[in-house]
């Protein structure tokens, strides 16, 4: 789960990391009101996407009136398909130097790693490609935590002037504390700036929280921005179904994440030549009951691009007859007119397929292999597009 810049900086501030003392606004008048107490401000679009500056979503304003005007321009703007509903109004900083400081999980090492670079304000991936020597790394022992000496290694490694080492070290240690407490998989300050007043301050921040840990962090659920995702994804999450909307025409309902990806891949493999691809990733989970199947089908069909639906269920815990019953219940409720191809294998698959063929539903056909199912779904979608 991604946090917005303002949410990240609020959390940083709770840990004592210095951040600009701004606030957020959802209307131009609010932005002007905030600017009244701050002098020259920077108005920043709060969307979960990079490249906000380039898209015109970050602007300076020297008076409250100007703040109202730029907030009016930015609110409602679209950045990479996301509508701006909120701006952050921060006091403008006098920047002497920008650096990068972040913590991310290193999967291969099974440890978090502290990363710093003398080149702040640009994406760290770009620095890693173009000037890898500017980047310094220190692995963090997940049990012992970040050591003070490691922060000094990093300060020295990026050639930070010595007068800033103590302030830098304190920020790095607090960032680690925040990272650990939040079950983050990424926490970055970019840029961390040295101001004309010789202070270090976290001008921009980004955090990603480990989805696997959300059960023990109910506080993050309130921060989730559901306007930043398709409505169907919100509904799927509420129903406990893993769903990601894609741009193709064939809706996929599968049990298990790996098989769901493989099913999408088959749709692409056999459909790509005709411009046909998967409309979604959907893992219905183990032991799918009738009501879940119905909820999943409704979510898939809420996408108007869907021209055919492919069900691929490999029974283990999930029973084929139960899935078939769920599908028939859902069909009778929704009465979809798109073609549906179903493949059931495993526990009670034969009983399930019998239920399907006895149902007499004309737009519901069975397939025996994944290859056959994908080909049939592609053919059906092609027909549906004509």
């Amino acid at each position: 789960m991604n946090l917005h810049e303002y949410q990240t900086k609020q959390r940083f501030a709770e840990y004592g990391i210095p951040v600009p003392m701004g606030s957020t606004a959802t209307t131009p008048d609010e932005a002007a009101e905030i600017a009244r107490t701050l002098g020259t401000v920077v108005v920043k679009a709060q969307v979960l996407s990079g490249g906000r500056g380039k898209a015109g979503g970050v602007k300076l304003a020297s008076t409250p009136e100007e703040a109202r005007e730029v907030a009016n321009q930015i609110l409602g703007m679209e950045i990479k398909g996301l509508t701006v509903h909120r701006v952050l109004v921060d006091p403008a900083a006098h920047i002497e130097k920008e650096i990068y400081l972040g913590i991310v999980n290193d999967r291969s090492a099974a440890k978090p790693v502290l990363i710093a670079s003398s080149e702040g304000g640009v994406e760290i991936e770009i620095v890693a490609k173009e000037n890898p020597k500017a980047i310094v790394r220190e692995h963090i022992d997940p049990v012992l935590g970040l050591h003070h000496y490691q922060t000094m290694n990093v300060a020295s490694g990026i050639n930070l002037p010595r007068e800033h080492w103590n302030a830098f070290s304190s920020i790095a240690l607090k960032l680690w504390e925040c990272y650990l407490d939040s079950d983050a998989t990424l926490a970055e300050i970019n840029p961390l700036v040295i101001t004309a007043e010789n202070q270090l301050i976290a001008l921009d921040g980004k955090m990603v929280i480990d989805d696997n840990a959300l059960l023990r962090h109910p506080e993050f659920e309130a921060l989730r921005d559901t306007t930043a995702e398709p409505e169907a994804e919100t509904r799927a999450r509420e129903a406990g179904i893993a769903y990601v909307k894609l741009n193709g025409q064939i809706g996929c309902m599968v049990n298990g994440a790996g098989l769901a990806m493989a099913t999408m891949d088959m749709v692409k493999l056999y459909g790509e030549a005709d411009g046909i691809g998967p409309a979604n990733f959907l893992d219905i989970g183990g032991g799918a009951q009738a009501d879940r199947v119905a909820a999943a089908l409704r979510i898939i069909l809420s996408d108007p691009n869907v021209k055919a639906v492919l069900f691929n269920i490999f029974g283990g815990i999930t029973r084929g007859d139960e899935v078939a019953r769920g599908l028939l219940t859902a069909y009778n409720e929704i009465k979809p007119d798109v073609a549906m191809v179903i493949r059931l294998v495993g526990t009670n698959a034969e009983e399930g397929m019998e239920l399907i063929s006895n149902s007499g539903i004309p737009n519901l056909t069975g397939a025996s292999t994944l290859t056959e199912a994908a080909r049939m779904a592609v053919a059906a979608a092609k027909e549906g597009m004509q």
């Binding site: 769901a260 999408m264 891949d265 990733f281």
Partner: protein, 287 residues
Amino acid sequence: MAIFGSKDTKVIVQGITGREGRFQTRLMIEYGTRVVGGVRAGKGGEWVEGVPVFDTVKGAVDATGADTSIIYVPGPGAADAMYEAIDAGIRLVVCISDPVPIMDMMKVSAYLKQHPETRLIGPNCPGFLTPSDRVKVGIIPGYVATPGPVGVVSKSGTLTYEVIYALTQAGLGQSTCIGIGGDPIPGTNFIEVLEMFESDPETEKVVLIGEIGGRAEIDAAAYIKSRMTKPVAAFIAGRSAPPGTRMGHAGAIVEGGEGSAEDKMNALREAGVRVADNPEQIPSLLK
């Protein structure tokens, strides 16, 4: 003994009184696994599926001599269950639980380095199954597998069953099938399993099933190229997944340009692996 376990392996089930733990205990016993006990603090003395329940893993090990444990406790409590098994001297821990926080897994991983006598498989995995010994520790449906010479290693659950099923249909039995799990910090990785298959006399050919995210398949390709003599066929799931979006499994995300299916398929091809476009092609690539 086959890799990981044999018909003599004594298994205890942590979280045996839960719905999933109870159900899977029955299926493991039906398949032939020697389940000798279960653990659930506060329920010691009860019986589940004909198996005695103990309050602690230590108690269960002392009473039964178990050397293998399978964990079905819910994700947030899974790390505690893993520490308990390691501290009780369990040789092999299979963790089915999902979702397990990544920070917990980094700490468990550090603890395991101090306890090299214990191996962990998972979390978020289906466990393993060896058809010739009728032993399964996990949730792979027994009926899809049949004894034979093919070793199967995978990050997935149902996609693994799909491939095992296709092998069985094509008359290619399996030596051992193992799912290492789809999480970013797995207890056992591809290379460790490939090493075991390479030295396992019952395994003649190997199937590797990977997916987008991380670089485990790239590392596996390097190992295969430099060390492996047995033929390997592979399938990588997620070619149609957009970058930056998590696909169900916590580890299945292409980040910063790393972890794409194409890169992994290319690395495996360069290592001499036969890479399938379609998981149902795998049996034909092994012939």
